[in-house]
């Protein structure tokens, strides 16, 4: 299976749309039913509470930077218990994917096309999901970028058009709800908003090119998603009123129906519905993709693509049987889902993190020892990234380079950023003349180089300070043997990364610079 890498910006967009997900459709009702007009306070507290949860996910991701969540389970908890918990995680993903297909079906059936069976919508939607999963995460990430622009545009018009019908007395009196119902509202909010973000750990450390800016993207995406949800909840309370919001199944749609600008611009709710169809698509895809990858990694199958069709049929079937009616789904989402999700999505990462701390599993050491294993390419591709993200890991890397090569120059360069590191590694490779390792090593070096190229560009886009560091260190880099090496590697980097739109321009930038050094 070839390694698929997405950029950190694409990851941020996926996080944003994923965290909005189905929540945009159903959260206003479930939060407002308890907290009444103070639901927006509950939403704000919920977003703040989800920050430590995000911190937990990022910490777990840093423990195992080259593994997905399912692999991390097996690595940290051991083979037996790890398989057990991973099956639980795959199961929750699969069931949720089926549930979301049910949601899209029931939404279209109740609001737009009442005569059509839900199976038809679920079938059409599952075809999109299967097709996207077949094309892979890279294509999906690029489509998410396009959909994100549409989403933002529609959201902007939505907020602007609904603003005239705001009645401020709907939100008064403020802070009247008792603490208990506020607590339940917050639980419901974070169970739909921030618990499922753990699914992104299936792609977060292992399939993202720059981990440091991806971490930032993780926080930014989730917080922006939370702000969108807060906006939607506040607007539905302000426009519909708390009682009306709570009694609706899909308050956001009812909100869109209220749009009426001068009795002229009205009944545009179907266009607005594109907004949550986009977010539900992103979330369903991520659940489905996580379950496909999860099952493939559980059973140690190298290529996950063949599993897509059978699993697609299964989620299509599941979408018809998970909820016999909407009451069932309401009760499930209110009572069972928070506990179910808490155990598999919060408690499990917490346990993993604690066990990893106790067993002293650190991702980078794992990389170095696993150098000979079959996952060589994957390790190599993120090796540079991990050194960039964690300063402590540099120490271990330096020691490795010292042992593998007798070039003192390289080790002195090593303490710098990932760019430097990878070039030093290349130099090592050129020195290494062991026949058995040369194949795997050159592969490794190439992978690191090409990825760190795109990294470099991205990092310079987001943080200027790291860029500075890079340039200063690469000046000291100017040995005779490094310059031609890095040039040739840049070329390979360009050819391999040509199809990804973000990696392209930084590469050519770097190509122009590298002869100067």
């Amino acid at each position: 299976m070839e390694k698929e890498i997405i950029s950190s910006r694409q990851f941020m967009i996926i996080t944003l749309l994923f965290s909005i997900g189905t929540a945009i459709l159903i959260i206003p009702a479930s939060v407002t039913s308890e907290a009444k007009q103070d639901a927006w306070i509950a939403a704000i507290i919920g977003v703040v509470i989800s920050l430590p949860i995000l911190k937990l996910f990022v910490a777990l991701g840093n423990k195992t930077p080259t593994l997905t969540f399912v692999e991390a389970n097996e690595k940290i908890l051991g083979r037996f218990f790890g398989k057990f918990t991973a099956i639980g995680f795959v199961l929750i993903c699969l069931l949720s994917a089926g549930e979301l297909l049910y949601f899209i079906g029931i939404f279209m059936k109740t609001e737009i096309m009442p005569e059509t069976p839900t199976m038809a919508f679920a079938f059409m939607f599952s075809i999109i999901i299967i097709y996207a999963a077949f094309l892979g995460i890279e294509v999906f990430a690029r489509s998410a970028e396009i959909l994100f622009a549409i989403f933002l545009l529609i959201l902007f018009f939505f907020v602007v058009f609904i603003a005239p019908s705001i009645q401020i007395e709907n939100i008064q009196p403020i802070m009247e709800t008792p603490k208990k119902s506020l607590f339940f509202s917050i639980i419901r909010f974070i169970s739909l908003f921030s618990f499922p973000i753990v699914v992104l750990l299936m792609i977060f450390p292992s399939a993202v090119n720059v981990q440091k800016s991806a971490q930032k993207g993780f926080y930014i995406g989730a917080i922006l998603g939370g702000i969108v949800l807060i906006t939607i909840i506040t607007l539905s309370i302000l426009v519909l009123g708390p009682a009306n919001t709570a009694s609706r199944t899909f308050p956001s749609y009812a909100l869109a129906q209220r749009i009426s600008i001068g009795n002229f611009l009205q009944r545009i709710e179907v266009i607005m519905a594109a907004m949550w169809i986009i977010t539900i698509f992103i979330r369903t895809f991520m659940y489905f993709y996580a379950s496909v990858i999860g099952i493939a990694q559980l059973c140690k199958i190298k290529n996950h693509r063949p599993l897509i069709f059978p699993l697609g049929m299964i989620i299509l079937g599941l979408s018809q049987i998970v909820h016999p009616n909407i009451i069932h789904s309401d009760i499930y989402n209110r009572d069972t889902w928070p506990i179910f999700a808490f155990i598999l999505m919060i408690l499990l990462p917490l346990v993993l993190l604690l066990v990893a701390k106790i067993r002293k599993i650190n991702g980078n050491q794992g990389d170095n020892t696993q150098c000979i294993s079959s996952t060589q390419n994957e390790n190599g591709s993120t090796n540079g990234n991990t050194t960039q993200s964690q300063s402590t890991s540099n120490g271990s890397n330096v020691s490795q380079h010292e042992s593998s090569s007798n070039n003192g120059h390289n080790t002195s360069q090593n303490a710098g950023s990932s760019n430097n590191d990878s070039s030093a590694q290349n130099a090592n490779n050129s020195n290494n003349t062991i026949s058995t390792q040369s194949d795997c090593n050159s592969n490794d070096g190439n992978a690191t180089q090409s990825i760190s190229n795109s990294n470099n560009g991205n990092a310079s886009q987001s943080t200027s300070s790291s860029n500075n560091e890079n340039s200063t260190l690469s000046e000291s880099n100017s040995t005779a043997e490094n310059a031609p090496q890095s040039m040739s590697d840049n070329d390979t980097g360009n050819t391999t990364q040509n199809d990804s739109d973000t990696g392209n321009t930084p590469n050519s930038d770097k190509n122009g610079k590298s002869p100067d050094k």
């Binding site: 199976m119 059973c299 069709f309 059978p310 699993l311 599941l318 049987i321 998970v322 909820h323 069972t336």
Partner: protein
């Protein structure tokens, strides 16, 4: 009934499209898992189309977690 046959045909097409390549690469484990999942999916869809009553898998989960939920609710009262 027609739809059930249609589903069977789709599954057969998927099976014939994928299994020969596995056989060529000698991936027995993939064949086994692929077949199990495909059989599950086909059976599920045919049962739905023939309107067989299938209990929701979420009912089982609700049954497992309802004591915890009752405990939490009793704490807050």
């Amino acid at each position: 009934m027609m739809m059930a046959i249609f589903i069977l045909i789709i599954s057969a097409v998927i099976a014939f499209a994928f299994i020969p390549t596995f056989k060529k690469n000698r991936e027995t484990k993939t064949i086994v898992i692929f077949s199990i999942l495909l059989l599950l999916g086909t059976a599920l869809n045919i049962a739905i189309l023939l309107k067989v009553k299938i209990p929701s898998p979420l009912d089982l989960i609700t049954y497992i977690f309802s004591p915890i939920k009752d405990y939490i609710v009793s704490l807050t009262k």
